[in-house]
């Protein structure tokens, strides 16, 4: 019952998002066919608009779009001409998701590690060192970090290829550039909540039982300290696997990050709608999974709808 209700809410949410986006994007002035190269005569522009149904009244365009959307057809891309939005997303999602997941794993593993080390060495050198790294991670934006990585690891030392896509070596620098920020945030979250958890009685009990430090940290400490991290990872997950404009541009990754931004500049209406709906769907599903995950790490959190 819960799942059905949840599914229904998801569909309604998506419909609202699609409608709002449709309205907003038609409010922006400008025309998808006003190209950079040339001012075309109005008759030629009319022919182009007709081809993409843009000469029809807005209400009709809206219903045509919803009809296609119900069949999971996101329409043609005006800019790409021969390839439709479904294809663009299907092709670009792979690299974006791979990079996203890789950087997320990097951020989680290193972030938790750093946080735990800091908490266990509270107010000692390792704590300060970890938190120093975390501050750097938070304060250096990825668009500064990425060119620095390229300059040193790519050009000067020649360890990794400068940019482009193809082998695993190509993924290292962009993954790291993407991971550093979240890594730092996770480290700080973990440190704070570990410190909090460590003052709880059950940790003292576990220690008193004579469990090893490892066992106390892993089985009792981290598990409880992870709850705030999970709330942070949910939206982050949806954001990183759908690609990022800046990192994908700098490292020339064939992902979908650029469509979110370029489509708006190009007034490529179907791509604006397609990417928004795709991102929303991923986000909604992720939030649902996160709700389930809470229950797993903390059985006290129950999944119920109100009134049940």
């Amino acid at each position: 019952m819960y799942i059905v209700k949840r599914l229904f809410t998801m569909i309604v949410t998506l419909w609202i998002i699609a409608t709002l986006t449709f309205m907003m994007m038609h409010f922006i002035p400008g025309d998808p066919f006003a190209s950079d190269a040339k001012m075309l005569p109005e008759e030629i522009l009319e022919n182009m608009r007709a081809k993409y149904n843009l000469d029809k009244p807005l209400a009709e365009q809206y219903f045509l779009y919803l009809k296609d959307l119900a069949q999971l057809d996101l329409g043609p891309s005006i800019q790409s001409k021969t390839r439709d939005v479904n294809t663009l997303i299907a092709e670009g999602f792979g690299p974006s998701a791979l990079l996203g997941i890789q950087s997320l794993l990097m951020a989680i593993i290193l972030g938790i590690g750093l946080g735990v080390v800091a908490a266990l060495n509270h107010n000692r050198v390792l704590d300060y060192l970890s938190m120093f790294i975390a501050i750097i991670g938070i304060s250096i934006p990825s668009f500064i970090l990425a060119p620095l990585l390229i300059k040193y690891f790519g050009v000067e030392w020649g360890i990794f290829p400068v940019a482009s896509w193809g082998t695993w070596q190509h993924t290292i620098m962009p993954s790291f550039a993407l991971a550093l920020g979240p890594l730092a945030i996770i480290a700080r979250f973990v440190r704070t909540s570990m410190l909090e958890v460590y003052n709880q009685n059950y940790i003292k009990t576990a220690e008193a039982k004579g469990l090893s430090t490892f066992s106390v940290v892993v089985n009792h400490g981290i598990r409880n300290a992870l709850i705030p991290v999970i709330s942070f990872i949910g939206p982050l997950f949806a954001a990183v696997i759908t690609g990022t404009f800046v990192i994908e541009k700098i490292f020339a990754i064939p992902g979908i990050g650029k469509y979110f931004v370029d489509s708006i500049f190009n007034r490529d209406y179907p791509v604006i709608l397609g990417t928004t709906i795709f991102y929303s769907t991923i986000l909604i599903i992720t939030l649902f999974i996160i709700d389930l995950a809470y229950r797993f790490v903390d059985p006290r959190i129950k999944i119920t709808s109100r009134g049940e």
Binding site: G30, A37, P41, E43, K81, T82, V162, S164, A252
Partner: protein, 542 residues
């Protein structure tokens, strides 16, 4: 018997000279570079995914760059940039200059083995003109009889004067005897597509496997948003002349990354160097600055005060120190513009059209003040009404707008407001003529003064100045039918003079291309109208 022995001797002699020739070549190459051992592969950067490789729909330089390597039209450019015969090896022009009869070469073929015929051209051109195709720029075809009518829904396809008389003969009739028609036909829209392939699958050009070409290369691999590889086409009639076997086009959007990849040896060529690196690369022998056939202007709305007066318009032009702008501020190899038509057009005298003309204005703040005074008097104003300078937010337009604002303040003591908008919004504003003075750039469709001057005739769809001048219109119209090239260029010079005296637009600068070409590569041809031509490039060392 005698005959045979003579022939035999002749053959022997030929063989000996040929062998000697070979020897010479060998010794020459072993001294310097052994080109034969070097794999002929070049890696360049497209800058992004080409939106389409179907010539009918392409609108951007990225797509054009690849398309120009894949297809060949009736005419072509050779390695020196001269216009030579392409798919047609004979062109007859009727005495009145209105009918062109093209004879398609014997044995020219598509990359799938089909033979290329005159019917392919008829089909391709009419496809662009079909309003339902919604092709990018059918207006280039409007010189042809019946083309505009058909494309705008006022005429039938039967009345379009493009006819394949037989497989080898294409007859085209024009509205006017335009001398520059061959230059028009060099445009990407005039490239042929294979009728069978197009009709079988509308999206034939979406993937490497479906693309059938008639030019120097075929697409061997297309990893979208990542890399596109083109391979020399064995079926191309002129394949012997093509020295570069493989071109890898990477798709790197970020100009700084592209530059770094070049520095790391991952690219052989940077076609558009980021402006901030030009200064530091200027002394590098791999650096080359090349003009681009495009002009950067500020456009007046001559119906908006205070720009209703030509003297006031000219005053602003005299107040701009273009040299300071290009040399000290932009530093991107741009040239100051003292006329309207950009560098790159060779006139019948052999000189560049630009160099033939006088400098129509220069930086002179005294003259600027004088003109402003006179203009104010004519209009009966004591002070210039306020005005706003509009520009779009992208690129270096902001910098240029601020410099102009500063120069108008210093040289004419004017307080000018500046305002920017994002490109597509800006285009809307511009088309609605909702401005007093606004930035705009043009590139020519083909390499002639006509297409850029024609933009400012009264009935041009690109004239947003509200300026209309019958003398200018007449000169342009006259030039269109003039058969004598010398006279035609005179008329175009006269038209430019009218435009510069009336000044509905201020030319600011001529854009340039800044390139880096690896020392390993020779023979890349730079072109004022498009991206570098790689067909005749040769890699001389690994």
């Amino acid at each position: 018997m005698k005959k045979i022995s003579l022939a035999f001797i002749a053959i022997m002699l030929l063989a000996v000279t040929a062998l000697a020739g070979c020897n010479n070549e060998d010794s020459a190459s072993s001294e310097g570079k052994s080109k034969k051992d070097v794999e002929q592969v070049i890696t360049a950067n497209l800058g992004g995914e080409p939106y389409t490789l179907d010539p009918a729909f392409a609108s951007d330089t990225t797509s054009f760059w690849v398309i120009n390597h894949l297809y060949q039209g009736l005419y072509a450019y050779d390695e020196d940039g001269e216009i030579v015969d392409g798919a047609a090896n004979k062109v007859d022009v009727s005495e009145d200059g209105k009918t062109y009869t093209f004879t398609i070469r014997d044995g020219v073929a598509w990359s799938n083995g089909d033979s290329l015929t005159a019917k392919d051209f008829e089909y391709s051109w009419k496809r662009v003109l079909n309003p339902e195709t919604a092709a990018y720029d059918p207006s280039q075809f409007y010189y042809i009889k019946g083309a505009e009518e058909y494309n705008t829904g006022k005429g039938a396809v039967e009345n379009v004067a493009i006819t394949a008389k037989d497989d080898q003969t294409l007859v085209v009739e024009l509205n006017n005897p335009v001398k520059f028609f061959p230059k028009v036909v060099l445009g990407e829209g005039f490239l042929p597509v294979n009728q069978k392939v197009v009709e079988a699958d509308e999206d034939w050009a979406a993937e490497a496997a479906g693309i059938v070409t008639n030019g120097a290369y075929t697409v061997s691999e297309w990893k979208h948003n990542e890399q596109l590889t083109i391979q020399k086409s064995e079926s191309f009639w002129n394949a012997d002349q093509i020295t570069m076997d493989t071109v890898n086009f990477k798709m790197i959007a970020d100009a700084t990354t592209e530059y770094q990849m070049y520095k790391a040896g991952e690219l052989d060529l940077v076609a558009a160097l980021p402006a901030e690196t030009v200064e530091q690369e200027k002394s590098n022998e791999e650096y080359k600055n090349f003009p681009s056939f495009s002009i950067y202007t500020y456009t007046f709305n001559v119906e908006e005060e205070p720009f209703t007066n030509a003297k006031i318009r000219r005053a602003l032009s005299f107040a701009i120190d273009r040299e300071a702008l290009t040399e000290n501020i932009l530093k991107g190899g741009e040239k100051p513009a003292y006329g309207y038509v950009a560098y790159g057009v060779e006139s019948p005298s052999g000189k560049d059209f630009r160099d033939e003309a006088p400098e129509y204005f220069k930086f002179d703040s005294e003259k600027a003040k004088e003109l402003l005074e006179e203009g104010l008097k004519e209009e009966g104003w004591d002070k210039l009404p306020e005005f706003t300078l509009k520009y779009n937010s992208e690129g270096n337009h902001k910098k240029i707008a601020e410099v102009l604002q500063e120069m108008f303040k210093q040289n004419l003591d004017l307080d000018v407001k500046i305002e920017n908008q994002e490109w597509k919004t800006y285009i809307d504003t511009f088309k609605q003529k909702n401005f007093q003075l606004a930035r705009m750039g043009w590139s020519g469709d083909f390499l002639d003064p006509y297409p850029v001057l024609n933009l400012y005739t009264s009935k041009s769809s690109s004239n947003f100045t509200n300026w209309s001048n019958s003398k200018f219109d007449d000169l342009i119209a006259e030039s269109l039918v003039e058969q004598d090239e010398n006279k035609r260029f005179e008329l175009l010079h006269e038209a430019e003079t009218v435009l510069m005296e009336e000044m509905p637009i201020i030319p600011i600068l001529f854009q340039a291309q800044n390139t880096l070409i690896s020392k390993k590569i020779e023979g890349i041809r730079l072109d004022v109208l498009s991206k570098p031509d790689l067909r005749f490039a040769e890699k001389v060392s690994e």
